[in-house]
């Protein structure tokens, strides 16, 4: 059944039950929000938005980190795999959260704590890559 959501940034958007992403435990700073949808718009490519269903004013810009760094790697721990119910790393899609600023040089991407989505069950997690050297605030502009 198609449902509607009135958002503050994208107006009215429609989604199906199967589009809903369950973010396990929410995100640091937003632990009370767990239901999201992905908003894609050709005009914004390659940026997508992770839109909260519970708080329509909240959304997070996302980018595929491999666009920025083709060698980008995520090592999931045992507990993270269990939470996502992931057996094979290939089941997962990963996104990095972007912070936009009107000044291009000030736009950054968080490569240290990506959102990993298991597309086969729509469970997602903001994973913290403790053992990596990735930056929380990598400039988007090279």
């Amino acid at each position: 059944m198609t449902q509607e959501l009135q958002t503050s940034k994208f107006g009215t958007v429609t989604y199906e039950a199967g589009d809903v992403i369950e973010l396990i435990g929410g995100m640091p700073g937003f632990s009370n929000l767990s239901r999201f949808i992905l908003i894609e718009n050709p005009d914004l490519e390659p940026i997508k938005f992770l839109q909260s269903l519970e708080k329509p004013m909240i959304s997070f810009p996302l980018i595929d980190p491999r666009i920025l760094d083709p060698d980008y790697q995520i090592e999931l721990g045992e507990e993270e795999r269990r939470k996502l119910d992931i057996v094979d790393q290939c089941q997962g899609l990963s996104y990095s959260i972007v912070t936009f600023d009107p000044v291009p040089e000030a736009c950054t991407v968080n490569l240290f704590a990506p959102i990993v989505v298991n597309t086969s069950n729509m469970r997602a997690l903001q994973v913290i890559l403790f053992d990596s050297d990735y930056s929380i605030e990598q400039p988007l502009l090279k």
Binding site: K9, F10, P28, G29, C107, T108, A113, I128, L140, L141
Partner: protein, 82 residues
Amino acid sequence: MLVFTRKAGESLMIGDEVEVTILSVTQDQVRVGIKAPREIPIHRQEVYQAIVRQNQRASYSTPPSPDLLDRLKLADLTRKQK
């Protein structure tokens, strides 16, 4: 805040399942060991706070204007990847 004085080798229990042990103490560093169920996330406070701050800043981001996207040259990168 609850305050305890502990020596190296001594522990604290938080509830039934979380055990915090002081492993060693030097002049300016304390090594702490934590035994907790795997589902309890444990983070260095400053790292966790940095992620909270970044998530909050990102949540305020408005969709980028075509001009900003253009200046970031992201479309070029996407094309290059494909």
